[in-house]
């Protein structure tokens, strides 16, 4: 048995010429790495589609009048923007990274069920094409918002089986089935396929967080599916589950919806927390502070996530005692989350920080997350929520979570792992330009939504009173800046993938099994399955003296 030291991992081993066989990404591949990139690229294309919808929304809102698009088109825009960004961007891109890196990080050759994995991926483009096809059916796409509350969602053109809302439900169902398949695969892979010696408490935090997130998928998604099936039946065959005039209960749909869709926030954000936990120790050259408690806090978040959903229903006739209970459980989420923020801060504290693009994005995302967390706590409080319910305050809050934290966190992941995935280095200058445009754009776009909400501007409106104009102009400028910020990113990614400098095995001098293999990794990942003998994040005295960059 030979020992491999940190120097071996971080050394500049000769690299093979990166693969350039782009056709494999259009095939039914069962290699988890190909599938990972398929997910990531598909998700990014959908991110651009959702972004175009966002540009139209911000374009409409730059003036108080409703003058850019029809109201029904506007309704479709915010509905499709939310749907595409959540089901097309955040979930698939995280699944993509999990697909690529979980097997590498745990020392496995592939996922537990490679074919199931491929099937799960190919359902995403099918769902996306189906969703886009709804632009061409009578009445256009769904207009009831991404949450599709009845009775609004039941008012789509009646007597017509093929309408936007039905297509919306089918597309969401397909992506849900795909996610459940993925969840089964991830949970099985992580439980059953860790390399010898890789105990749970030697597993990287990213893997812990993917595991915790996928557990939420397993219990949450089926409940949303139950609600979606009932809504679909109401819409198509005329049952009356959510029709109050026939004994149905529309609020029950809200419970079904949020029982999954609030925990879904943690499904999205836990892997991002995992990315933070991978990046901060590397760029601070310090071990992750409180590894075990950070790991356990992920499971705690997953557990508590199942009992917070009613905070979306404070104003839905929910009795006072229930509001109090869910206010407390919601606030409790800030405990394990706070532990993580504390641990990352302590990790960075006194470290030798290097602000390469991945670190910039991770650090920026952390700052934005702290802000999002604070507004989140205010929203969990019943009196404040009742005041700002359905206003732009809420929109501002969740965009700080979903753009500020999740999307910025995903960009951190892309830059961090780009050399590993492609075997090429990205252009640092373009990366930094992307970061600053995105960071300034995020704040310009989403901060004004808070004062707007506090002043009473409702969400989902295409026209508004003139006193809201100032902040809306700022928000729209920020929005367009965000749109522009993706251009250097696209340029960087395509340019680097084709012409980038060849990347060493481990450009960041990071510690972890994924950095042990070539960039990009060979088909079966490891020549020999490694045997793990210690905890992750061993940055410190033993770190290599020879840095490779």
């Amino acid at each position: 048995m030979t020992n491999i030291s940190v120097e071996d991992i971080t050394g500049d081993a000769p690299q093979q010429e990166p693969r350039t066989d782009w056709k494999q990404y259009f095939s039914f591949s069962t290699d988890h790495k190909v599938i990972g990139i398929q997910y990531i690229v598909t998700a990014f294309i959908l991110f651009l589609v959702g972004g175009i919808f966002a540009m139209i929304i911000r374009g409409e809102l730059i003036t108080p009048e409703s003058d850019l698009v029809d109201r029904s088109v506007y309704n479709a825009m915010f509905t499709m923007h939310g749907t595409v960004m959540l089901f097309g961007w955040t979930f698939p891109i995280l699944t993509g990274f999990a697909n690529y890196f979980v097997p590498l990080m745990i020392g496995a050759r592939d996922m537990a069920f490679p074919r199931l994995n491929a099937v799960a991926f190919w359902m995403i483009p099918i769902a996306a094409i189906l969703l886009m096809a709804s632009f061409f059916v009578p009445g256009g796409p769904a207009q009831a918002g991404w949450w599709s509350y009845p009775p609004v969602s039941l008012q789509n053109p009646t007597g017509n089986l093929i309408n936007g809302e039905v297509i919306w439900l089918l597309a969401v169902a397909i992506s849900g089935v795909s996610s459940i398949m993925g969840a089964i695969n991830f949970v099985t892979t992580i439980v059953k396929m860790r390399a010898p010696g890789m105990t749970f408490f030697r597993t990287p935090i990213f893997v812990w967080n993917v595991f915790s997130a996928q557990i939420i998928q397993l219990f949450g998604l089926p409940v949303l599916t139950a609600g979606a099936v009932m809504l679909l039946l109401d819409l198509t065959v005329g049952t009356s589950f959510f029709d109050p005039t026939k004994g149905g209960d529309p609020v029950l749909f809200q419970h079904f919806f949020w029982f999954y869709s609030h925990p879904a926030v943690y499904v999205i954000i836990l892997p991002v927390f995992g990315v933070f936990s991978e990046i901060f120790p590397v760029f601070a050259r310090k071990p992750l502070f409180g590894y075990k408690i950070v790991a356990i806090s992920s499971l705690l978040i997953a557990g508590v996530s199942g009992i917070v959903w009613v905070h979306h229903l404070y104003v839905s006739g929910t009795p006072g005692w229930m509001r109090l209970f869910f206010m407390l459980t919601t606030m409790f989420v800030s405990v394990p989350t706070g532990i993580k923020v504390f641990a990352w801060t302590a990790t960075i504290w006194g470290g030798k920080l290097r602000f390469d693009t991945p670190m910039l994005f991770a650090f920026g995302a952390l700052i934005l997350f702290v802000f999002a967390g604070i507004t989140g706590i205010t929203l969990s409080s019943v009196p404040i929520d009742v005041h700002v319910n359905n206003t732009y305050y809420v929109v501002g809050h969740f965009h700080y979570v979903l753009y500020g934290t999740v999307t910025m966190g995903m960009f951190a992941a892309i830059y961090f792992w780009f050399p590993k995935m492609t075997g090429r280095m990205y252009y640092e200058g373009l990366g930094k330009l992307h970061f600053w445009l995105a960071f300034i754009g995020t704040n310009l776009n989403f901060f004004p939504m808070h004062p707007l909400g506090l002043q009473g501007m409702l969400r989902r409106v295409s026209s508004y009173a003139p006193e809201y104009e100032f902040w809306n102009i700022i928000a729209s400028i920020g929005g367009f800046l965000l749109g522009v910020s993706t251009l250097p990113f696209i340029l960087n990614m395509i340019g680097s993938w084709i012409h980038g400098e060849q990347a060493p095995k481990n450009p960041w001098r990071a510690i972890g099994l994924e950095w042990l293999v070539a960039s990009p990794p060979p088909v079966e990942n490891f020549e020999e399955i490694p045997v793990v003998v210690s905890e992750p994040y061993g940055y410190g005295k033993s770190e290599p003296l020879v840095a490779e960059h």
Partner: protein
């Protein structure tokens, strides 16, 4: 922190670290069933919410559901769980004849249940769109019925596969998974039966 964070085996041992494929499959299948349980829990919750919130729960003209035949059906279905267990036991001791006999019995019992349910459906005076009760009744029994049908098809499949020589020599994943699925279908039915037929 030890400077050697990872050691790699240089001998053939790592090649033997093929993951336990049967174990993974079974684990994955059980995770899938847990996930399925939550869909049923969603429907059960909806049923309980509607029933407790609606004073006029049953459709006009319907005084209640007939319990006797569904109760007999229940006994047959639940007993079949025991029969498929006997089939598994027979396979474990390589008694293929007994395995097939028990499996056929279990398939017959499942089919009896499905036919019984179809007959019950054909006699009911309310439909899928007759209020929330009608919707919930057909949704629950129909969704469960689909699972029974799937279970029967799986049993036919493993029955057929028993005629391929050597097929069950190395592992019984297909049979064990089918059996677990069948137990799952039975347990769900017990809850469903109590909710719909007993708690009227």
């Amino acid at each position: 922190m030890d400077s050697s964070i990872i050691s790699e085996e240089s001998d053939h041992l790592s090649h033997e670290h093929n993951h336990d494929e049967e174990g993974s499959k079974m684990f994955g299948f059980i995770v899938f069933l847990l996930s399925e349980t939550f869909i049923f829990l969603g429907f059960f919750t909806a049923y309980i919410v509607y029933k407790t919130a609606n004073p006029d729960w049953l459709p006009a003209g319907v005084s209640g559901l007939e319990v006797r035949d569904p109760a007999i059906n229940t006994v047959i279905l639940v007993s079949s769980s025991f029969v498929i267990y006997l089939a598994e036991r027979a396979l474990a001791r390589h008694d293929l004849i007994a395995f097939r006999q028990f499996l056929m019995l279990s398939i017959a019992m499942g089919s009896y249940f499905l036919v019984g349910q179809a007959i019950e459906w054909s006699h009911l005076s309310f439909g899928f769109t007759t209020g929330v009760f009608g919707g919930m009744f057909y949704l629950l029994t129909g969704f469960h019925g689909l699972h029974v049908l799937t279970g029967i098809l799986l049993q036919i499949l493993v029955f057929g596969r028993s005629f391929i020589p050597g097929n069950y020599d190395t592992g019984h994943f297909g049979v064990n998974a089918t059996s677990i699925f069948w137990h799952f279908v039975d347990v769900i039915w017990i809850v469903l039966f109590v909710l719909i037929y007993i708690w009227q």
